[in-house]
């Protein structure tokens, strides 16, 4: 490993080679550590995030998994399958905003086959909510079912990437939100790509800050393009119907519904 170019004088050319070698090895080491950071971000945080979020959902006492047997229509439950909840179009119950980092709802999107239900928690900062709890709810925006805008944010890559497949959503796709007492089935109405500073997308009337809301909307925000934070991918939706969780399961989660 040592190059013998004659006996190096004190402070002579031998030292220069040594310094060059150390600098080169440090640079290579830095490169390997940076590569390791990429692997950590894009793979390990998903491993940890998926595990943690699945644990959060299974720990929720009111979020038992949706049955996967063939659905049975009608208000009576039989052994032939789970009960389909009858859609209700009257005013839904709206819960009050909980404290920071409290998990108060789950989101399941039938379009994303294979994706589990993801927890929704209060707050949108990364360190305490998005990186550890999954989907975050913008404080001050509407709660599920409220007249206004139920605005949520989630990672598109890393930390379990709950909104990874957001670009697959099409107009009319159901977004099923579940709280302790009720299902809220929203339908996608539009998508857009905006700058990170365009906060009007989470206004009570999306795009029109200061205007009093009349509809019950949902808005999802995440980064765009996929591995960048340069822009935001926005999905808007409107409430289609709600149902008490005691009435059964929305047809959309059982492979039915238009």
């Amino acid at each position: 490993m040592t190059a013998q170019h004659g006996r190096p004088a004190r402070g002579g050319p031998g030292l220069g080679y040594v310094v060059l070698g150390v600098v080169g090895e440090l640079l290579i080491t830095l490169g390997v550590l940076l590569l390791g950071f990429l692997v950590w971000q894009l793979w390990w945080t998903d491993v940890e995030g998926n595990r943690a979020q699945a644990q959060i959902v299974s720990d929720l006492p009111w979020a038992s998994p949706v049955p996967t047997r063939a659905p049975t229509p009608g208000p009576t439950a039989t052994d032939a399958g789970p009960k389909i909840a009858t859609p209700r179009h009257d005013d839904p119950p709206v819960m009050t905003e909980p404290g920071h980092a409290v998990t108060f709802a789950t989101l399941q999107v039938p379009r994303w086959t294979g994706e589990p239900a993801r927890p929704i928690s209060q707050g949108v900062d990364r360190e305490t909510v998005l990186n550890v709890l999954g989907i975050g709810h913008y404080p001050g925006t509407g709660m599920p079912g409220a007249v206004g805008n139920f605005a949520v944010a989630g990672h598109r890559t890393t930390f379990g990437k709950p909104f990874n497949r957001i670009a697959e959503l099409q107009v009319g796709d159901p977004l099923v939100v579940r709280t302790e007492g009720a299902w809220y089935v929203y339908r996608v109405t539009s998508t857009q790509i905006v700058d990170p500073t365009q906060v009007e997308v989470i206004a009570p009337v999306p795009g029109q800050p200061g205007v009093a809301p009349t509809e019950r909307m949902i808005t999802m925000t995440t980064c765009h393009p996929m591995f960048s934070a340069r822009q935001r991918y926005i999905v808007h939706g409107v409430l289609d119907y709600w149902a008490p969780t005691s009435d059964g399961t929305p047809a959309e989660l059982l492979g039915g519904g238009a």
């Binding site: 390791g36 950071f37 949108v124 990364r126 890393t158 905006v194 990170p196 365009q198 906060v199 980064c223």
Partner: protein, 55 residues
């Protein structure tokens, strides 16, 4: 630097290779558990929210 490390590891070549692999794995594990999570908030890669000030 690594040459110095190699020369000061005990045992035949096979043992040194194994020791190097263990050391590298230990360094990477320490990075995964402590260094990378500490550094990540300062990297501008993961903004998913809309807000008036850049963040």
């Amino acid at each position: 630097m690594y040459g110095w490390l190699w020369r000061h590891l005990p045992g035949p070549v096979a043992v040194r290779v194994a020791l190097c692999a263990v050391l590298a794995a230990a360094v990477l594990a320490a990075c995964f558990v402590w260094v990378y999570p500490a550094v990540a908030p300062y990297m501008p890669f993961n903004g998913t929210t809309v807000q008036e000030s850049p963040g």
